[in-house]
Symmetry: C2
Subunit: 448 residues, 2 copies
Amino acid sequence: MKKINPTLPKGTRDYGPIEMKKREYLFSIFKNTFSLYGFNPLETPSIENMDVLNGKYGEEGDKLIFSILDSGDFIKNVDQIEKKDSNKLKREISKKGLRYDLTVPFARYVSMNRDKITLPFKRYQIQKVWRADRPQRGRFREFYQCDVDYIGTQSILCESEIIELVYAIFDKIQIKNISIKVNNRKILYGISEVLNFEESFDKCCILIDKIDKIGKEKFNNELEKIQFSKKQIDGLNSVLFFEGSNKEKLIFLKDFLSKSNKGLEGLRSIEKLMKLSKKFDFDVSLARGLSYYTSSIFEVVIKDEKIGSLCGGGRYDDLTEIFGYKNISGIGISFGIERIYQIMNEEGLFPKNIINSKTILVSCLSEEFMTNSLKLASKLRENNIKTDLYPDNPKLKKQLQYANNNSIPYVVIIGEDEVKSNLFTLKNMISGKQEKLSLEEIISEISS
Amino acid sequence: MKKINPTLPKGTRDYGPIEMKKREYLFSIFKNTFSLYGFNPLETPSIENMDVLNGKYGEEGDKLIFSILDSGDFIKNVDQIEKKDSNKLKREISKKGLRYDLTVPFARYVSMNRDKITLPFKRYQIQKVWRADRPQRGRFREFYQCDVDYIGTQSILCESEIIELVYAIFDKIQIKNISIKVNNRKILYGISEVLNFEESFDKCCILIDKIDKIGKEKFNNELEKIQFSKKQIDGLNSVLFFEGSNKEKLIFLKDFLSKSNKGLEGLRSIEKLMKLSKKFDFDVSLARGLSYYTSSIFEVVIKDEKIGSLCGGGRYDDLTEIFGYKNISGIGISFGIERIYQIMNEEGLFPKNIINSKTILVSCLSEEFMTNSLKLASKLRENNIKTDLYPDNPKLKKQLQYANNNSIPYVVIIGEDEVKSNLFTLKNMISGKQEKLSLEEIISEISS
């Protein structure tokens, strides 16, 4: 048998038992809260047809889609193998790819099932996505995304509910001091109308999105490079960096945008939201990179910390149009659960006891008492106590070491004395305390 | 924008909200029971390096692995594009593939992490696998597998615990009348020694594995085809189809195998297991297709029903050897959760109330009462009641229809009367009953 060196593909990870328990804890908070807010789960396949994926993520994104080679004799029917042209060849030998995000598959699902679903349709989706990105520290090629979306309603109540949902979740995972920044793409467009740069609107949005990273000065330099006049730059600065409360910003912008219908429309949406919620920061300098957002946009950050956004989202006019299903407005937010996991891990926000807190190891000193061990384990499990059973009979020290390495807090020891007396030795692995107890006493000790 | 017809790749499925809830119910029973038995979760990447996958599943299996095209200019460094030879070309342009099962990645994980893990290592794994199989009714190219394994112990206690675990799970999901068939590959090998067909052992195992499908007569015909003598066939029939209790089989086989050390070794293992468990059926005609099983093998079926096996597994001497980690005995069982799901669905074994049983829809009759709806929803959620909020204000009939389509059992209606009186109309969608209640009364009605 040829030996193989076991390796993982670049940018992928195994999740071992401890990491899995933390992830399951985090995911269960997300799932329970989504369900408390009336969202239902959805899963789509990891594989999508290439024509569903291609052209949805921009030129750069398309390059990062993992392609799956067609099955069987894939080269047989390729008339001309265009030597050295990977792109042309790829289209001929690969008709499927791995899911790149959760939004496009969701739009595909809604379009395919339009006759079966009731609008408004609310779903959450926690699944892996794959990107052939250059792997870097903290950046992976396979990772989880977590999206929540409404589709088929234009109500501002959705914006308000999403804000509530974000607070509910961050409250439960104990990441404090968050700020939900809200803006409206229509306001940004209104500004471009007032300052006469509608034709550079998209470019300008991409720059605004980078202000946090590049700073105000470089931002203005970049505007100059794309031919913004001093007057335009000053005007843009006055509105983007206007400081004040949500209300003061509203008053200022009502005046600033007075000649732009679209701008005022965006402003009315913010105003409506203010009536429903006080829990967001109106931030005119929020732009979001993705071009499909057409109205409300939001981002969640930790105040006074430069670790980037933890969630982002917005309202899109018509994501399902490409699949032939028109006039379906939607709104969604994507929780960056990989980053959130990282923060919780670094800051020790996972409960200390999620790993094996109510677990017991039944350890057995001799093969002759195996049946007794089995019976005891079975009784403990009937009482819903997580019970591991050491399968062999090495020295007790090794069995206790096993409990320690697996963070199992209790060990029950069965030897000759225990079998005779029907009293079992229970060792608390944290305090070191050891006492002889009956089965009932053990159950009550651990369940308490 | 070019319109695209939304389609799914062959052999893949979306899981909509109702299917998801059923799946989550089923998976949670599995996870909770595994954890009650001291197994910990593990997840491995969907993508594995091709040299980890290739050569592990037999020639036929290798062909069914989905290959991922290398990123970037994959054809650039391919010196010779071997026209029309897909196999050679594939090796040059695809270094990764999709996970084909959960066993090989587990062996890879254990081998890579041998310095970090404590033996015996117990894990469960519920993840998707992909096979480029011909899609058929009930057969998919992407589906979940669910495996439980011990690695690093030879103890017969593992066999006994797995039997307990199987019963615990089938008891909870209420599939009744199961039988756990157990055999030992060493017994089969012993039979081949006694009857002198060691050199045809593997071929014969594959045939024995098919007896259920092809019947006794065809089985014997096939044996003739591979040059079995009448004496060999008669001998094999006498032992495979011997009827009796576990104990009677044991006595018969002790005599039959008296000249085969290996056979007697397998028999001793069965004998030991009988001392620990009475819950299995010793079945000499059980062979299992996979060649890596070397000792105990088992299969779970529903008695008197011809729907094939629901679980299968066995003990393997050394699955990690290929990755350079030697002498590590393991044992595992794979639950066919896709088939189990199908049976539960067909037989109505999912609880009637898993879909939105404790859910309420807050419906709002006019935009002016939106804030009241929001507040009410927020109070209900604080009391852990799953609350959906209708985001728009169409006619009540449409909102009730929404509740019906989503199987939401309660609707609370907010209009002018309700806001004035602070008493809300609660409609039970199943009984049709409608009453005016205070917030506290609603909470107690739904929580009860």
